[in-house]
């Protein structure tokens, strides 16, 4: 039995000719929040569905909470909770009925269900709406009930598959707070997939970046970003043509590593951003390109992804 909460070795899953998960080796420590970051179709959800025993791998092995997903799926199911994409709750039931049934599904006694319901409702604030039918809930409230439902049997490992996709910023922040609280107060291991860079940055102890079914980078978010080395100067100009002109003007400046045009923006990578920003501004002024705004920032996880794959993570917030 492994000490890790999740451990996969050469894990693969194919759908016909498509290899959605292409040999993933992964180890998530107990009590860790692990962010699994990647664009749509990268293989994040397939990984989660394997780890949650919903699909079997084509080859390789996956151990979750000490139990093999293929040879002992029940052992895994007893120890995991999951809130997968969307809100997997019945709109015709009330919140309370939803939690009660979930307790029954896990063989919990009536007393244990009542006690646990009180606990999860303090963790996940739903208020008086708990006695209303779920169909009347807002998106954020539904997602919080979904999370509460996943927690009823006090899982060791919690899988959250894009838990805030489609939520407004306020609801997203509340879900983040709840995830943090679950981890710090209960020591729950959390495996979180997301396409939101900010979410991975905000929550994860470690991030695994997945692309085309393979993990292309792994580590604490700050370490990954530091690994890129360069600062980033983002200049928004008045037009795409202006951005192309600006690229030519900026590319040869000392200290500039790379220059990329993204729509009407110029993304300048520089070893020392603070020292390079003035020459960039002067060069732009000199070539007559209208500048809307100019920003100096440290690298993001998207920059890490870009560096490794040559593409961007296409989240809503990108």
């Amino acid at each position: 039995m492994t000490d890790a909460a999740i451990e996969t070795t050469a894990l693969r899953r194919s759908f016909g000719d498509l290899e959605a998960v292409a040999g993933v080796d992964l180890s998530v420590a107990r009590g860790e929040i692990y962010g699994f970051l990647g664009p749509n179709g990268a293989g994040k959800s397939t990984m989660v569905r394997i780890l949650c025993t919903l699909i079997t791998p084509t080859s390789g092995s996956a151990i979750v909470a000490g139990h093999d997903v293929v040879t002992d799926p029940t052992g895994v199911r007893l120890r995991i909770g999951a809130a997968l994409q969307g809100t997997a709750i019945d709109p015709k039931l009330t919140g309370r009925e939803t939690l009660l049934l979930q307790g029954r599904y896990y063989g919990m006694s009536r007393d244990a269900i009542a006690a646990r319901m009180a606990e999860v409702l303090t963790l996940v604030d739903i208020g008086d709406a708990i006695d209303r039918r779920v169909g009347t809930y807002s998106g954020g409230m539904g997602r919080r009930l979904d999370l509460a439902t996943s927690l009823m049997h006090r899982p060791e490992v919690l899988f959250l598959d894009e838990p805030t996709t489609g939520l407004d910023p306020v609801s997203r922040t509340r879900v983040w707070e709840e995830v943090r609280r679950l981890n710090t107060e209960l020591g729950m291991t959390i495996f979180l997939t997301t396409q939101y860079l900010e979410e991975a940055d905000e929550l994860a102890d470690r991030v695994g970046i997945i692309n085309e079914g393979r993990i292309v980078a792994e580590g604490p978010p700050d370490e990954l970003k530091r690994g890129i080395g360069n600062d980033v100067i983002v200049v928004r100009v008045t037009s795409h043509d202006g951005a192309e002109t600006a690229r030519a003007a900026v590319a040869a400046l000392p200290g500039v590593a790379t220059v990329e045009v993204r729509g009407d923006s110029l993304v300048v990578s520089a070893l020392d951003g603070a020292a390079t920003v003035s020459p960039v501004a002067v060069a732009l002024n000199g070539c007559g390109v209208g500048v809307v705004d100019l920003m100096l920032r440290t690298p993001t996880l998207d920059d890490v992804f870009l560096e490794l794959t040559g593409a961007h993570i296409q989240g809503d917030d990108q």
Partner: protein
Amino acid sequence: MTAVSAPADAERLAQPAGFIHDLTSVALRALKLIPRDPAGVIPALVVPLFFFVVNVGSLQNVAEGASPGFDFKAFQLPVAIVFAVTGVSRASNLVTDIQDGYFDRLLMTPMSRVALLLGLMVADFTLVIALCIPVVLLGLAVGVDVATGPLGLLLFLLLAGAWGVAFTGFPYAIALKTGSPAAVNSSFILFFPFAFLTTAFLPQEALTGWLSSIADYNPVTYLLAGLRSLLMEGWAASSLLKAGLAIAVVGAVSFTLAFTALRGRVRRG
């Protein structure tokens, strides 16, 4: 990361609850949802009553005039019952669960996979028995006699319920195979040959030609004969055995399809 230890096995609340508990949990949820979706039940309640009233009203004099002593109301009551129970299932709800992800949530629990489907069938059995009661009460109210008495009436309801459940395998198979509400709604087409190419309106000996041949192979013919025997003849072992066999054959076919489709869906994830 935190220093607080993760929930250990000793603190674990979850445990396999056993097949009967799983079955009950699934059935309880399904039954709880039935009154919250009356549109799904009202047609199954109204259609058989309507057909019973219309058929008796329009054909009773003709049928009883042609065969003095023949009780056409008792002859028609099992037809209304078949209309009430055939095709009533939670298959549409199952499709909704598949589409909404609730079915995935169930698959991630330690519950028995068989209980996930059989629990719905238990709820169906309860519902079809409930749907039979107003039809039977109407029959009794208009003067249908039950030759086998209260025990026969109980068996009458149980046979009807068993037939209803035996038929549910077809819509469940479609629901699990396709995950499509439109496909499940179309499954009512199966009802027509079963319900009409049989002795619904005339005794078997009065049928001729192709309809007679088809009715010979239609299990509903034997179901109706068994149900009618309880009302009109008394305890007729041969008719009851044939009715039970017809239900068992249809159930074996439909359950095989449904549980094969369940296994396929579980495997596909």
